[in-house]
Amino acid sequence: MSLLDFARGPALQWSIVIFVVGVLWRLLGVLLLRTRKDLSEPRRDAAWKGLRLIALRSWPRKEFLGGTAFGEVMGYAFHIGFLLTLFFYVPHVLFFADIARGLFGTDLHGLTGLNWPTMPNGVVTLLSAISIAALVAVLIHRIVSPVKRLISNFDDYFSWLVTIAPLATGMAAFAHLGGWPYERLLAVHLLSAELLLVWFPFGKLMHAFTIFVARGSTGMLFERKGASL
């Protein structure tokens, strides 16, 4: 079995299984926790209105702009670049279509009649480069800033590593860098993405699933208490 066969076969299957099991385990473990009954009088009636905190917290507050602007800009640059690369790069779309075919016997077009649009490789390359640059910038910021360095642990650095690895190896595979055969570059890219999947549920990357739940529940709590959002 070649490295590429391993990456496309057993490694891919096990990483998906670990990802699914881990995400559901952690998510349900949190969502099904017992919430203590709040006996205080609610200051406002419609606590659900606090859900708007999900959107509000996605934008910097003027008061803290000086301190948070760097993180906000880099965060958006990375996330937008990463997600667009992941979901709109041609081979990725074909890969997802293949998974859909395996699950439903047909791809998105067969299911809905819709086509999954893709972006030109040049745009994807630029977005990937921006993502990588943003990740490097936030790492330097984390190391240089005494406070951030102090509160950083293995999880922070390892999550950074497994996030930048698929981007870097993907660009290397696309550009045929390093003098390696393309198959080896592709295998390393797949393995790096699989490492991301495996680590995802157990580290801070899990925020992708928990962040909006946490913001929503906090918002509802604040709303009930009459706090300003």
Binding site: S2, D5, V17, L27, L28, L31, D98, P120
Partner: protein
């Protein structure tokens, strides 16, 4: 063996000066040399002595020989090829039996340390009787002839990487030339079969500069294998735009869209098909409507179906993912139940 100058030989075959210079310019370009070197290529080729070449075919289908010798009429490439002193090739030579073997031994003796050895076909390392030439097994014959060679050209994917004989389950224990010969420069001219101009390009470079071309990590001439088919494919713009043929007879196929979804191996295959093309520059497989099967790459026969897209992952089944969902839910519910019990106990305490 007499070895007149190559220039004299070509003139005797009616090649004009203009045609010869045009060939030199084209070959220099194909080899990635500067156009200013074309006159130097011409001067060197004219003065070059016809090199002695011994060609050993082993476990092969003769496709490589066909590709080189019969691809397209009497072009300059084929004349250059004829210009070498091919002292032994048991498929092509008139002599047979002891006379043929004596010709090889004589050529080896007279050109010891200087002759080029071309090998096509893989070498069986299992039972010695799997493949023999004049009663000799392939391994010992290769080892003996390789000892006096200046360099070896492993012609075709079988000689370069084991090829189809070496595909799973490899019943003969077929290996590449590089697995047997360790102490000689080896140029892998892979392909099933390789492109004729690649072999003449390698010979031209050897005759012109007296040295072997720059090779890639797999021992192939960079000038011809430095880029992928995908990089130079005329259908590449359709790939960029996300326009793919979904079957061989749909509208996309008729429009000449990218064959990536139909399993084209262009992105992982290094060869010059898209630029040099076949049959005197007529076309290449993708131009004829079929995806590249990656024949110039190691183990191409064992890399899954030819009609599966490259991105295809063996990601498992719906049942596997369904089981993972079930296990994840069970674990989540169980851990939450445990946490709730602890919370309750803590509140009660």
């Amino acid at each position: 063996m007499s070895s007149p100058l190559l220039g004299e030989f070509l003139r005797s075959r009616g090649v004009t000066r203009r045609d010869f210079l045009q060939f030199c310019a084209t070959t220099a370009a194909a080899m990635g040399l500067s156009p200013t070197l074309a006159p130097r290529v011409a001067a060197a080729l004219e003065q070059a002595r016809r090199p002695s070449v011994i060609w050993l075919p082993f476990q092969e289908c003769t496709g490589c020989t066909e590709s080189i010798t019969r691809a397209h009429g009497s072009t300059l490439e084929s004349l250059i090829f004829q210009g070498i002193s091919l002292d032994y090739q048991h498929t092509l030579q008139a002599a047979a039996g002891d006379a043929a073997e004596r010709a090889r031994e004589t050529a080896m003796k007279e050109n010891w340390g200087r002759y080029l050895l071309i090998v096509d076909g893989s070498i069986p390392t299992g039972n010695k009787g799997f493949s023999t030439v004049a009663g000799r097994d392939n391994v010992s014959l290769l080892e003996e002839v390789a000892r006096g060679a200046a360099a070896i050209v492993a012609l075709g994917s079988c000689a370069a990487f084991g090829g189809i004989p070496g595909a799973s389950p490899n019943p003969t224990g077929a290996v590449a030339v590089s697995a047997i010969v360790k102490d000689k420069p080896i140029i892998n001219v892979s392909g099933c079969p390789p492109i004729p101009v690649v072999i003449t390009g390698v010979l031209t470079q050897y005759l012109t500069f007296g040295k072997l071309p720059e090779l890639d990590a797999l021992g192939r001439p960079m000038a011809f294998y430095g880029q992928t088919i995908h990089d130079r494919c005329y259908r590449r713009p359709f790939y960029e735009r996300g326009q793919f043929a979904d079957s061989f007879d749909d509208e996309g196929a008729r429009q000449g869209w990218c064959l990536y979804k139909l399993g084209c191996r262009g992105p992982t295959t290094h060869n010059a098909c898209a630029t040099v093309k076949w049959n005197d520059g007529t076309s290449f497989p993708i131009e004829a409507g079929h995806g590249c099967i990656g024949c110039s790459e190691p183990g191409f026969w064992d890399k899954g179906g030819f009609y599966q897209p490259l991105s295809t992952g063996q990601w498992g089944s719906a049942r596997t993912v369904g089981t993972a969902v079930g296990v994840g839910v069970a674990l989540g519910v169980a851990s939450a139940a445990l946490a709730r019990k602890r919370q309750k106990d803590a509140e009660g305490a």
